[in-house]
């Protein structure tokens, strides 16, 4: 469970995010969204990306199979460099690193397992792992690459 102080911080972050995006703040919805996103993350993402978003060991180098390991989602990774639209697309469609030595997707597709709102929720949860500077950068990127209509 998330501690009360952490939850409050998450709520503030979510509020800031809503305010920056020019949308009407909806604190309860944001908090619910992050709570739901945490549960989805633990069920679908944590086994590869780590329970705290720490990623796989040695994630910056190809593994023995010639595949890039799952990167961190926390502040030590690069997830915060992507806009909302790209994060949504990566979760929904998956993605294959063109230099992997196997033909399978590097990031599996979750488009048939998760609804658009669930994908948005898990992204909202991942956003709680970033620094304020990283969050600010990601909001800027998201203005160019917002969520697709089905996730709004």
């Amino acid at each position: 469970m998330v501690k009360a102080s952490h939850a409050a911080a998450v709520g503030l972050l979510a509020l800031a995010s809503w305010a920056d995006a020019g949308a009407t703040p909806a604190p309860s919805r944001s908090f619910d969204q992050i709570t739901a996103g945490r549960a989805i993350y633990r069920q679908n993402c944590a086994s590869c990306h780590g329970i705290r978003g720490e990623g796989a060991p040695n994630w910056e180098r190809p593994d023995a199979r010639g595949e890039m390991p799952p990167p961190p989602h926390n502040a030590s990774g690069h997830t915060w460099k992507h806009g909302d639209g790209m994060l949504y697309r990566l979760v929904h469609d998956g993605w294959r690193d063109p230099f992997n030595k196997t033909s399978r997707l590097t990031m599996p597709s979750f488009g048939t397992q998760l609804t658009p709102i669930e994908i948005r929720s898990v992204i909202a949860y991942i956003k709680t792992m970033w620094t304020s500077e990283q969050s600010a950068f990601q909001r800027t990127e998201s203005r160019r690459e917002p969520f697709p209509p089905e996730a709004r």
């Binding site: 990167p71 690069h78 230099f99």
Partner: protein
Amino acid sequence: MTGYESRPRPVPARRMMLSGAAGAVAVLVGLLTWHGANADASHTTSAPIVALGFDAQNHVLLKATAETLYRSADDGLHWTRVALPPGAHGRISAMATTARQAGLVYVSGPGLGVLRSGNDGRSWEDRNAGLPARSVETVAVHADQADTVYAYVAGRGIFRSRQGGLNWRLMDRGPRENILQLIHSNMPGSMQTGWLFAATASGVRRSMDCFCGWRNAGGLEGKMNAVTYDPRQPEQIYAATGKEILLSSNGGEQWTRLNAPGPALTALLVSPDGVLYAAGGGAVYRKRDHAGTWERLDG
């Protein structure tokens, strides 16, 4: 931001790779032209060329030495000196052009920072606001977005501007090795919009343009003086090391050696129509296809 207007001055002519008497005549003609045209012409015959550029829409070939920028509207037959702002101090170390916008040229270098021209060098503007220093080693333009520019500041990292250099943001510290040249390519497969390739002091490094991690491209070793790619086939990457030209047909995974013009190479470029240009020993060379021979464009 400062602006500066300049007028081009003509300088010497093209010299093909000729032998014997014909070559001697060509050299003599070139020298006579040089003396008559411009006292600064020695830059075109001896100073190393540090960068090449190509304005595809105007079909203008550009070359730069550390001190001077030149343009040619006839594929190297005649060169015209392009003046930089009189207040610009430092040396040129890189140049970037794009097929997406006619006349757009960036030059960068230690002391210069980043200079931008939207009219093939007739006027220039400082584009350094937001950069921590003017020690800009190299500059690159996004393959498809003319307003997206990358600048590498030694010791600080890679900065990106999405407004043609009007403001900059630190994106990444870059690979561990010092970057000597940076290019952006629209090779498919990126999470974002393309890839960055860096010629470094030890091999070629590659990253998606989301700055999601730098990787060694093909395990090359040694100093890479230049890197470029073929806009018609973005998986084809060229790198120059010493007197050698290396070609990868799969985005930098494997490399093969191409025949090279001879001298130690300092710059590479592939024009949008697939012509490979190389600079070395103060001269520019051209090769129209892989099987073709090198043709010297100037002396």
